[in-house]
């Protein structure tokens, strides 16, 4: 049990926006003097709690989010951070369920607690700074200097996280190093034969329980894994444009952006799309990318998750996909060899002709 009588605490559920923005939140809240309480890592109990609370049609990430809020309430936390991220750029909106997270939480959980519910809506000119000011107004902090300083602190931590993540040490390690402000130790990783890119929302992919530890499973199969952490936002944005698509969803960069980047530079052998069952935006984005993949001869597998996903079936599909990639690579290598041989002969012939003339 944490000390929760303290007014200056905030409970952050380990779900949805946590996976993209936690370093910022951590720096920001600490600079404001607010103690951050995190919910536990996702367990089956958390998923079950969430599933029992919301309507069955709701998607898995929102169920998990609700479970985490319940977990925080059980920890005795009475101020819980539930942001409503409506749009991240003009006309670039989020999915309704993420926009309406506070509405869902307020109406499904019968308990006495305060929801810290700032809104980010760039379509309506509610900028990120306003979002931060909204948060601090819940704690009666009105001093502009303190808030601006806290925002800067948040960015410092966030940038550190982004830099660390680029060094390919994995999401958890990067997050730990960024928060503890220490250097990362980069272990030597031998070059692997196969590499794949994963297009998925951070909250699906980096949650080890939801994604059934997909990244580690792939690494065990001797596969290089590239995720949204390896692609900068600007690059993802440009890649979407280069592919001739238009960004429509707020979190499209993590999916279409990543896939587009690796499709264009052709440095991976295959793409894995990981999405939750019934996810509206994903259904469209994966379709878009699979059309593009078909045109460019890039293998793609679409794995769908829900609260019942059995691990065995999931692994079988994954193994089959990796096997297929390996065989394809082998075949291509053989073909390439042949091409070189033919070329060699051609050069010889040219030389012959030249010498004849």
């Amino acid at each position: 049990m944490q000390n929760t009588d303290n007014e200056n605490t905030i409970g952050i559920p380990r779900a949805i926006s946590y996976y993209n923005n936690y370093p910022f939140y951590y720096g920001f809240f600490n600079a404001l003097g607010i103690k951050v309480i995190l919910s536990d890592k996702t367990t089956s109990k958390i998923i079950n709690d969430g599933t029992n609370t919301v309507v069955s049609e709701t998607c898995l990430p929102v169920k998990v989010f609700t479970g985490h809020v319940i977990n925080l309430l059980e920890k005795g936390c009475n101020k819980i951070f539930v942001p409503s991220i409506q749009s991240t750029a003009y006309k670039i909106n989020n999915c309704s369920k993420i926009r309406g997270l506070p509405e869902i939480i307020r109406n499904v959980i019968n308990a006495d607690f305060t929801i810290i519910e700032p809104t980010l809506n760039k379509t309506e000119n509610v900028e990120f700074k306003d979002f931060c000011y909204q948060i601090s107004s819940y704690y009666n902090i009105n001093d502009t200097k303190i808030i601006e300083n806290a925002i800067n602190q948040g960015w410092v931590l966030y940038n550190r996280f982004i830099k660390l993540a680029k060094s390919r040490i994995g999401y958890c390690e990067a997050l730990k190093c960024a928060i503890e402000n220490r250097e990362a130790v980069i272990k030597y990783k031998p070059e692997k034969q196969i590499s794949v890119a994963i297009m998925a929302h951070g909250y699906n992919l980096f949650d080890e329980r939801i994604s059934l530890n997909l990244i580690k499973k792939l690494e065990k199969m001797d596969v290089n894994v590239y995720t949204s952490l390896d692609v900068t936002r600007d690059r993802a944005y440009d890649a979407i444009k280069e592919l001739g698509e238009v960004q429509y969803w707020a979190n499209e960069l993590e999916l279409t952006g990543v896939a587009a980047n690796y499709l264009l530079d052709n440095s991976v052998d295959g793409i894995i799309a990981l999405s939750a069952f019934g996810c509206g935006p994903d259904s469209l984005m994966v379709e878009e990318i699979s059309n593009q993949c078909a045109g460019r001869n890039m293998p793609l597998i679409h794995l769908t998750l829900d609260e019942h996903t059995g691990e065995a079936g999931f692994v079988t599909r994954l193994e089959a996909f990796i096997d297929m990639l390996q065989r394809k690579k082998l075949k291509n290598a053989r073909l390439n060899k042949n091409i070189i041989k033919i070329n060699d002969i051609k050069i010889n012939q040219n030389e012959l002709i030249e010498s004849l003339v």
Binding site: T58, S96, R99, T119, Y248, L284, E287
Partner: protein, 375 residues
């Protein structure tokens, strides 16, 4: 494909309820050729399901089928409105264009972007397809269109009122169908303006039992499924024949007036504004789609003595899932029964009717009890 000459254009648009009647009047007045795809039916659904991805919502599947059927009949210009920022609706035209191109069709799609300057966008779109310069024709077209929208809405409202109360079964339905035909055939602005009054007079002639015990149920939910009788399996008729008056808060004419009229001419409290006011205890912000309308209408119904709410939405509709999560609490706090029905392409009619019957029984019992309590 913008090379199609305006006189060679054959225009089609997706079906939704009876919007074909006013739109046809408008476009024909502007001198355009139109093709109306067959109304939504099982065949359309089959075509739509076959050509779209599994995860997309039902309205898109039907829209796509409408396009395909219209193109097969010879249309070369498709019209559709879109409103980014609502939900997946903003992606419909993009996806449909890609799918249709992949199927090998050649066409021009004209899109009304309803996000800003709605009237300008609309006029531009109509100018683009017809190249009509005569302002009188525009006046005639829009006037005919609007009056027909209002007439259809009026006829539907009266149908809902009359159906549970009629003495000879089927009178209201016949009257409604007769008027739809007349509305469709009306060709002068003057006559169109009298339509609403004539419809009122005609419905008043139907023999009804005015003292009949008739509970009222609100039908709320997603825009398309509410307005398209095929998609909602004609739920209004099913409920009406069980002796319940259905009321709907979403009307196409209403919505169009709100969307198209400049704000200085629109003095009423719009449906959206009313919903925001009524929903404020449950929702603090609109989240796209018709979620806030659903919640606002439920609270409004509870405060105005309505006996029950039936909430319908297509499967995997994102805004309505949020609404579904909020509705149980609204129902508890405002003391009004609510039933959510989710529709998809596989909905079996029998199971659906059983659920409605059970709900209607509950509503009737509650209504009787309330009456008894009052006495």
């Amino acid at each position: 494909m913008n090379k199609i000459k305006s006189k060679d254009r054959i225009i089609a648009w997706p079906r939704m309820g009876r919007i074909d009647i006013p739109l046809k009047a408008l476009l024909v007045s502007l001198g355009a050729n139109v093709i109306i795809p067959p109304s939504n039916n099982n065949k359309a659904l089959e075509i739509g399901v076959k050509n779209s991805i599994e995860g997309i919502c039902l309205p898109y599947k039907l829209n796509l089928a409408n396009y395909i059927m219209a193109l097969d009949k010879g249309a070369n210009t498709l019209m559709m409105f879109q409103a980014p920022g609502s939900c997946r609706l903003g992606n419909y035209t993009k996806m449909a264009q890609k799918t249709l191109k992949k199927l090998g069709y050649d066409f021009d799609m004209v899109i009304f972007d309803m996000y800003q300057s709605k009237m300008k966008q609309t006029l531009q779109a109509f100018w683009h397809v017809t190249h009509c310069l005569n302002p009188f024709k525009y006046y005639k077209g829009f006037s005919l269109g609007f009056n027909k929208f209002f007439a259809i809405d009026k006829a539907e409202k009266l149908l809902f009122y009359t159906r549970p109360r009629e003495i000879n079964k089927g009178d209201a339905e016949n009257c409604y169908n007769k008027w739809l035909k007349i509305i469709d055939e009306t060709n002068s602005v003057l006559r169109a303006k009298h339509l609403v009054r004539n419809i009122e007079n005609d419905f008043a002639k139907i023999n009804i039992d005015k003292d009949k015990f008739v509970p009222i149920v609100y039908l709320i939910g997603e825009f398309f499924v509410l307005l398209d009788p095929f998609t909602n399996q004609n739920i209004e008729k099913t409920i009406g024949e069980m002796g319940i008056e259905v009321q709907r808060q979403i009307w196409f004419g209403d919505w169009l007036e709100h969307v198209l009229k400049p704000s200085f001419l629109y003095h009423k409290l719009s449906h959206r504004e009313r919903s925001v006011i009524y929903a404020k205890d449950y929702m603090k912000r609109p989240i796209g789609g018709e979620c806030i309308e659903t919640i606002g209408d439920t609270v409004y119904a509870a405060k105005h003595g309505i006996d029950g709410i039936i909430h319908i939405s297509p499967f995997s509709c994102m805004p309505e899932i949020v609404a579904q999560n909020i509705l149980p609490k609204v129902s508890r706090n405002e003391n009004i029964p609510v039933m959510s029905l989710v529709l998809d392409e596989q909905t079996g009619k029998a199971g659906y009717i059983t659920r409605i019957e059970a709900f209607i029984d509950l509503v009737k019992r509650r209504h009787r009890k309330n009456l008894a309590d009052k006495v």
